[in-house]
């Protein structure tokens, strides 16, 4: 399985995603510039955290118009894996690949800390190695992570089992329904505010994020085998 990590101007967690995949998971991964117009040959694409275009206008609002976006939409439509964390999640909502929007945190402040999450859906290709309702800990680091969608959308998300991660114990940003991560109906596009790539090595004090990447790699390989 070949994975692309997209680099937008202002991305800054690109190296973190890359290293988690390459060094820790020994996956086949490559940086891809936002200027490129295709993702031919890739089986998965990851949108990193950071401040694409300086968060100007609205987080993710300018990145969504870059050259690479049609290729990402195409991959999503083809059922290939699309993953966005933090700013990557914001970009996916701006691009309409995931419903809803990320608003400024309730506190009006940037917050960087480790939070407890509940895995609410372990049927996605990203979460198959977690237990259903398992509690894990992942770092968050954002100023605009308060998930918002209208009532109807929220109902639909819940009914379709599209909420993948929920904040447990403490909601750090005011997200509706304590939503920390959601997927599309088909389950091949996942966006989340927490940073699993920051929790893959014991030396950094937390490995709860590792199984997300391992799930993806395992399911990617499975798909390849069944192809």
């Amino acid at each position: 399985m070949k994975i692309a990590v997209v680099v937008f101007p202002g991305s800054n967690c690109d190296i973190d995603l890359y290293e988690a995949l390459a060094t820790v998971c020994h996956a086949d991964v490559e940086y891809v510039s936002h200027k490129r117009d295709n993702l031919d040959g890739f089986d998965a694409v990851m949108l990193p955290g950071g401040f694409s275009y300086g968060d100007y206008l609205r987080c993710g609002a300018i990145a969504r118009f870059t050259n690479i976006m049609p290729a990402i939409v195409k991959m999503a439509n083809e059922g290939k894996f699309v993953f966005g964390t933090c700013n990557g999640f914001q970009i996916l909502t701006e691009a309409g690949l995931l419903p809803g929007a990320l608003k400024q945190n309730d506190s009006l402040k940037f917050v960087c800390k480790t939070v407890e999450l509940e895995v609410v859906n372990n049927k996605t290709p990203f979460t198959s190695q977690y237990g259903l309702h398992e509690h894990i800990k992942l770092p968050i680091a954002h100023a605009d992570g308060s998930y918002y969608a209208d009532e109807a959308t929220l109902e639909q998300l819940e009914a379709n089992n599209q909420v993948v991660f929920r904040y447990a114990k403490e909601n750090p940003n005011g997200s509706l329904h304590d939503i920390a991560g959601i997927c599309n109906e088909r389950g091949n596009v996942l966006g989340m505010m927490p940073h699993p790539e920051r929790a893959v090595e014991a030396i950094l004090g937390n490995t709860d994020g590792l199984r997300l990447f391992k799930s993806l790699l395992e399911n990617g390989i499975k798909t390849e085998v069944t192809k």
Binding site: P9, I15, L204
Partner: protein, 739 residues
Amino acid sequence: MAEMTPEEIKAQKPYLDWSLTEHEYDYICDHLLHRLPNYTETGLFSVMWSEHCSYKKSKPVLKLFPNKNDRVLQGPGEGAGIIDIGDGQAVVFKAESHNHPSAVEPYEGAATGVGGILRDIFSMGARPIASLDSLHFGEIDRPRTKYLINEVVAGIGGYGNCMGIPTIAGEMTFDNCYTGNCLVNAMSVGLMEQKDMQKGRASGVGNAVIYVGAKTGRDGIHGATFASADFADDKATQRSAVQVGNPFMEKLLMEACLELTHDHHDWLVGIQDMGAAGIVSSSCEMASKADSGMELNLDMVPQREPGMSAYEIMLSESQERMLLCVKKGHEDDVIKLFKEYELEAVVIGRVTAGHQYVLYHHGEKVTDIPVSSLTDDVLEEPSAEQMPARIKTAKDANVPEISDVNQALKQILAQPTIASKQMFTQTYDSQVRTSTVVGPGSDAGVLRVRGTKKGLAMTTDGNGRFVYLDPKIGGKRAVAEACANMISSGALPLGMTDCLNYGDPNDPEIYWELHQSVSGMAQACEIFDTPVISGNVSLYNENNGEAIYGTPMVGMVGLIKDLKHVIPSFVQKAGSLVYLVGLPTEDDYAGSEIQKMLTKTISGRLHDFDLVKTNQMMKTLLNAMEQGLVESSHDLSEGGLGVALAETCFNTNLGLKLDLDLTKAQLFSETPGRFVVTVPKNKQAQFEKMLAQDAVLIGEVTADGCLEADLTDGHLQVDVLEAQKIWEEAIPCLMKSKD
């Protein structure tokens, strides 16, 4: 408006408002130019001869610092200093103050402080890997102070978070002397391959001078001279001297510059940040270091607004700009590289034969002066010195009277200087780039060096109170404290940077403080083998004639040989043995937190301490750590042993049961050079043999979450959870209160 003629300048002396003295002006006319300078030239002199650019006041004192050893690859004089860390790698670091801008426009002042120091790091060819800060504010008792704190913290986070550089350590203290003039010192640490080392020089006749980054606007004009004069309420217009930052632009600039310095050595001659005094300082310093001449055409400088004068273009401190010297023939390669990052790069001049600094604007020659007249010929200003009376007559501080030791400990944990700063530090991204092994809230921040077993520890320390009571001993203590932070994390101190924050140096007492504290620091640096590889001086920190406590900030970096031996600052498991390591605890209450808490002021004579002994003890302790004998270590600082004991238990569910040969008051004494260390029982014999009389067994880690100690005149018993709650809630509570 027409600019003044040279004759009008001589007669009307506008330069006095730009902080150039009449004596200096006359010297420039009579000895350097042998003519009268025009308006633009007078502006260049006033800014380049400011303390901020020339260090004319502090230079004689700065010479006291040792700045070399086997590991130092680059000492002071470049963007930042560089130290060898083995394997062909090097660590690069520097600190800088942004006190004056932050006091006027706190968000942008702090943000551009971070931005400026980051440019210093990547101008050396290094990728910034961490930011630190040292912040000193007034007591949290008035709306203005709360506003300053909130905005400064937001500015630091806003810039650093967007750049994607983790802010992993720092310090924050509160004292009335900083109410009108807060201190905002930022430090940046970078990592590089030694082969990529760059210098800020412009050599080779015909080589191009290229301007890259943001356009030049009217912001920050005279920022450097502004930082070299004191504040007064009647100067309400100083807001215009503060620059505005754009971290997104800087992120692009950093990536482009790193690509250039790493992949295109053959194109580049030199690179320098446009910091204080903008184009003029960067260009003339690059020419001066290479003993070259330089010619610039200001019409080529990208400008944000029309109608800027030569004076304004040269003195602007617009952010996110760099100056390059590029080999003739590679101009287009460099321009193309920057274009890939959507950045502007423009040839604005050439290196010339001879030593003249020549500027053209609208086809006219507006400046033609020797390069050295702006850099090397600055008159050093001798300063009078005088020991303040308070120090001459100081007596031993009274022993604090403590009736209820439990209450005293709880109360001291709620003092803002000691209480948890998490409310602020959690607004900084401390983990981005996934290398943070130890983040904010510990003795030092620790980063791993990817692809190696090594780690880098880093800290900032400043204690104005001790320097106020005795600058020489205070200076020694600042360096010793930073070294203790390194050792406590399991790191060997490698070297340091500093920000020297003082009042008006024309006051003989303040100059004496500066001189004495630097000599104390220098002495400690010699003994600890921590050369000063970079630094910054910030004088005139006064508000309406009231000076701050002289506050030298020490920024230190240490090397952890093997991350297997990185030492946490909190206790690990019940049953382990607790030792008090280091210098014997004395009655050291002058300038202590307990003194301030109980008497609302600081006073008394500071006791000197043995640096050689402290150094030997610390190296032995490090040795024990590297042999795996130590489970946790926390160095004792503000609040003494009592506070350190509580802090080592926070977030662990563990407690301590101790038997101390100390009084209640001594529990809060601030004798330097001490650590509280835990050792697993099976290492007891080995540890005690190594540390010998430097370590005293004081008790055991317990499982009951209770901090308990027998004292010679009482008994301490505090529930750790309760203590932690007090420590955590103190600052949020003060920040929320309506006062």
